[in-house]
């Protein structure tokens, strides 16, 4: 279905990443936002609060992040497209209910505008050090989908994409931006509503009494059951079977958790989104996500001028990690370099996939600022030897 | 029952009567129904159900007035009372 023109501010705007993200969500039909202020994500909440009352939606500032995550799950089950936004400390607080969202297979979107951590850290400066937490933050086994925009324009587009992914795969989707992209103001072009493709929520077409909330059939995600239409279904965070009833034994655990994991693993080709440049014949391949993928451009240009055969991959989806692609590239390239604003998180996935077939390097730092391209260039030179 | 003064509507007074149904296998022998039946109709039986509890048995079923207190108090949905034919009231 197409976006509702009432929601879409078609035109060219000068917006920062957070505002663009909020606009993307509104264009995608998000009608419920429950959040808690935390720098540097608060602008998303504020824009939503300003825009949504005239668009038949609700903004609520909840009492804390735990309540926010719980509330967006409740609203999603009520039928609303819902989202919340936070940063590192709030992300930690939301983990339990994020796990609940995964277990209940609830579509919703959660934005983490990463800042310097750990703990209270650097509220007003960027970091990319929550990536492993995005993957493993909640307890138990599950897979996540995490997107990383590199600009306000991409923040807008990925917000819409996140809502579509959440409906398609029936799970909470993470948007892992950072303070730099969030607070960077650039031109954002919002297309006309009829050019915005939205995925409608798939509800069951079976009658009450014949439909269950988790009919895993290995064939795409189970359709949701609507509340208030006589289905009288039950769902629980306990390990459950297709009926949604708690079943406390190993067999049910096997079926339940396998589904949560397979729903992403079996669909990686559809989910993973990489933007590759100059990979053919490259000796050195750069990998990065978010703002780091832009920061490395001057270093790459300089290396190219010196004749180094260098390619790059921007990971628009960071999770699931592009395992197959990295394994392929490790066979052909001499070195893989990961640029991220942390002391090594997604880097270890790259190194693991390379499996020693090529050299791997990390250009990392503690956060608080973007990389100095000079440092990236130095590592490229080292790798090209 | 003896009345100090015969009520004016005595010919229309009817005592409700109840028909007890006990789902023995669901009972957990808590004894709420036995304790709080206002007519003392129930008693915990000596028989066992599959869980090893003693379900109640109606020792004076004819005294049940369908007050539904057992049905409401039972935590296990194991006893209920249906309305039976009302009995006209006897005046002493």
């Amino acid at each position: 279905m197409k976006a509702d023109p009432k929601n879409v501010l078609t035109g060219a705007h000068y917006l920062d990443g957070n505002h663009a993200c909020a606009e993307g969500a509104i264009s995608a039909g998000c009608k419920f936002f429950a959040g808690y202020p935390i720098t540097p994500s608060t602008e998303i909440a504020e824009r939503f609060a300003r825009r949504i009352p005239l668009l038949d939606g609700v903004f609520i500032q909840m009492e804390d992040e735990l309540a926010s995550m719980a509330a967006i799950l409740g609203a999603s089950w009520g039928g609303a497209r819902s989202m919340s936004c936070t940063s590192g400390p709030g992300f930690s607080l939301m983990m339990e209910n994020f796990g609940l969202g995964i277990m209940l297979e609830t579509p919703c979107v959660l934005v983490n505008v990463q800042r310097g951590g750990p703990s209270t850290g650097l509220p007003t400066l960027p970091g990319q050090a929550d990536m492993m937490q995005a993957r493993w933050g909640s307890h138990g086994d599950y897979e996540v989908i995490a997107l990383a925009p590199d600009s306000p324009q991409e923040s807008y587009e990925l917000a819409i994409h996140a809502f579509n992914l959440s409906e398609k795969y029936r799970m909470p989707i993470l948007i892992m931006t950072d303070e730099c992209v969030g607070h960077m103001t650039e031109k954002v072009v919002i297309p006309p509503a009829e050019e915005i493709e939205l995925l409608e929520r798939k509800y069951t077409d079976k009658k009450p009494g014949e439909a269950w909330p988790f009919e895993w059939n290995g064939n795409g995600q189970p359709p949701m059951l609507p509340v208030g239409k006589g289905y009288k279904f039950h769902i629980t965070g306990l390990t459950h079977d297709y009926r949604g009833y708690p079943i406390i034994n190993a067999e049910a655990q096997g079926e339940n958790v396998s589904h949560l994991v397979d729903k992403v693993r079996n669909n990686v080709d559809d989910i993973i989104w990489l933007e590759e440049r100059d990979i053919e014949g490259a000796d050195v391949i750069m990998m990065a996500y978010g703002i780091s993928s832009r920061v490395m451009q001057p270093a790459i240009a300089r290396a190219k001028k010196e004749g180094i055969k260098i390619g790059q991959i921007k990971m628009v989806t960071v999770w699931p990690f592009p395992e197959k692609r990295v394994r392929e590239l490790a066979e052909k390239a001499k070195a893989l370099i990961m640029v991220e604003m942390n002391f090594g998180q997604v880097y270890y996935e790259m190194e693991r996939m390379a499996a020693g077939k090529c050299r791997t390097y990390l250009v990392g730092h503690a956060g608080g600022t973007v990389h100095d391209p000079e440092n990236i260039y130095k590592v490229i030179k080292e790798a090209a030897k | 029952m003896k009345y100090w003064r015969t009520p004016l509507d005595v010919d229309r007074l009817k005592i409700p009567r109840g028909e007890l149904h006990i789902i023995k296998e669901r009972c957990k022998g808590c004894g709420f129904c036995v304790e709080y039946c206002p007519r003392g109709v129930l008693k915990l039986s000596d028989e066992f159900n599959a869980k090893g509890y003693h379900p109640p048995v109606a020792i004076k079923p004819q005294d049940c007035v369908n007050c539904d207190l057992c049905e409401m108090l039972c935590p296990d949905f194991a006893i209920y009372c249906l309305r039976a034919e009302d009995e006209p009231k006897e005046v002493a």
């Binding site: 719980a70 509330a71 039928g79 289905y231 | -």
Partner: protein, 298 residues
């Protein structure tokens, strides 16, 4: 353990308890102990729903974690078994998306008031149109009988083995001072008055709070050598005092002493959605279309 079908249990095909249409019969018998008061409270809720003749498609139950938290799993309504303490914000989100549904939160004292305490006071402050039934058995039963913020002074528990010395919450006072517009307390024994209170709480707009003092035989009664749940019910019988309309400050509960029950608060205040719509109307005037849920006013 929960997969045994109930059909073996019912002795005859025609034994149908009148409340079966509100229960998930494929999951009965439930896990609650013999002489536990939760089943009785569920009966009161079922009776209230039936007597109110509500459209059962439009009622939803949200519960948290704990013995009482299992209620959602046994009621044949759109029901949600959420994380510990977060039933209220989940229900709040659900209610805001669907104000056409009647959202009932049914959870225990530990879940709602301890880990859920923050959410409790805020949802009450907002006067969200949610009905909260809190089964208070003075203990964390499911996890083995630890002390709860409602455990009376000197009561023993797994984590207060020498007697609790922490002052407990007075739940009606907490609810009333946070802004609840309907506050009542009954015991599981006062079954008919409890049913009436639940009916009033459901029909009244705003945050309605019903505390149900219920016996816990396996933990609270056993750890404090109080007998079985039936002995606790007898205690409620002899020691409950009905005092409608008193100041909730006087409704403290001491260990094995008088329990004041009744309807303490029944006032009118605008609900959360009324405040939201009024506030936005003031800000936007005629441009504003009142919010009626994700489906509009359906």
């Amino acid at each position: 353990m929960n997969t045994k079908p109930v059909n073996q249990e019912s002795q005859a095909a025609e034994e149908h308890h009148p409340m079966e249409n509100l229960l998930r019969m494929d999951r009965i018998p439930h896990i609650w102990c013999s002489t536990c008061g939760i089943g009785t409270t569920v009966t009161a809720l079922a009776a209230a729903l039936e007597q109110l003749k509500l459209d059962l498609n439009k009622v939803t139950v949200v519960s948290g974690i704990g013995c009482t938290g299992r209620v959602a799993g046994y009621m044949k309504l759109d029901s949600f078994h959420t994380t510990h303490g977060r039933a209220l914000p989940f229900a709040f989100g659900l209610h805001i998306a669907r104000p056409d549904m009647k959202t009932i939160v049914f959870s225990g004292d530990g879940d709602l008031i301890s880990i859920g305490g923050n959410h409790f006071i805020h949802t009450a402050r907002r006067n969200a149109n949610i009905t909260v039934i809190c089964v208070n058995n003075f203990i964390y039963a499911m996890t083995g009988g630890q002390v709860a913020p409602t455990t009376p002074i000197s009561a023993k528990s797994a984590t207060s083995p020498y007697g609790n010395y922490e002052r407990p919450f007075n739940l009606p006072l907490l609810a009333a001072s946070s802004g609840a517009t309907y506050v009542a307390r009954w015991t599981a024994l006062h079954i008919r008055r409890l049913t009436t209170a639940i009916k009033e709480a459901i029909t009244k707009p705003g945050f309605s709070f019903v505390e149900v003092i219920a016996p816990c035989s396996t933990l609270y009664a056993r750890l404090n050598k109080l007998g079985t749940g039936l002995d606790l019910m007898k205690f409620y019988h002899d020691n409950s005092v009905i005092r409608h309309g008193i100041d909730p400050r006087e409704a403290d509960i001491d260990f094995q002493s008088k329990i004041i029950v009744g309807k303490f608060v029944d006032i009118e205040k605008p609900t959360y959605l009324e405040c939201l719509n009024n506030g936005n109307k003031k800000a936007f005037g005629d441009k504003y279309r009142p919010y009626g849920g994700v489906n509009g006013n359906k």
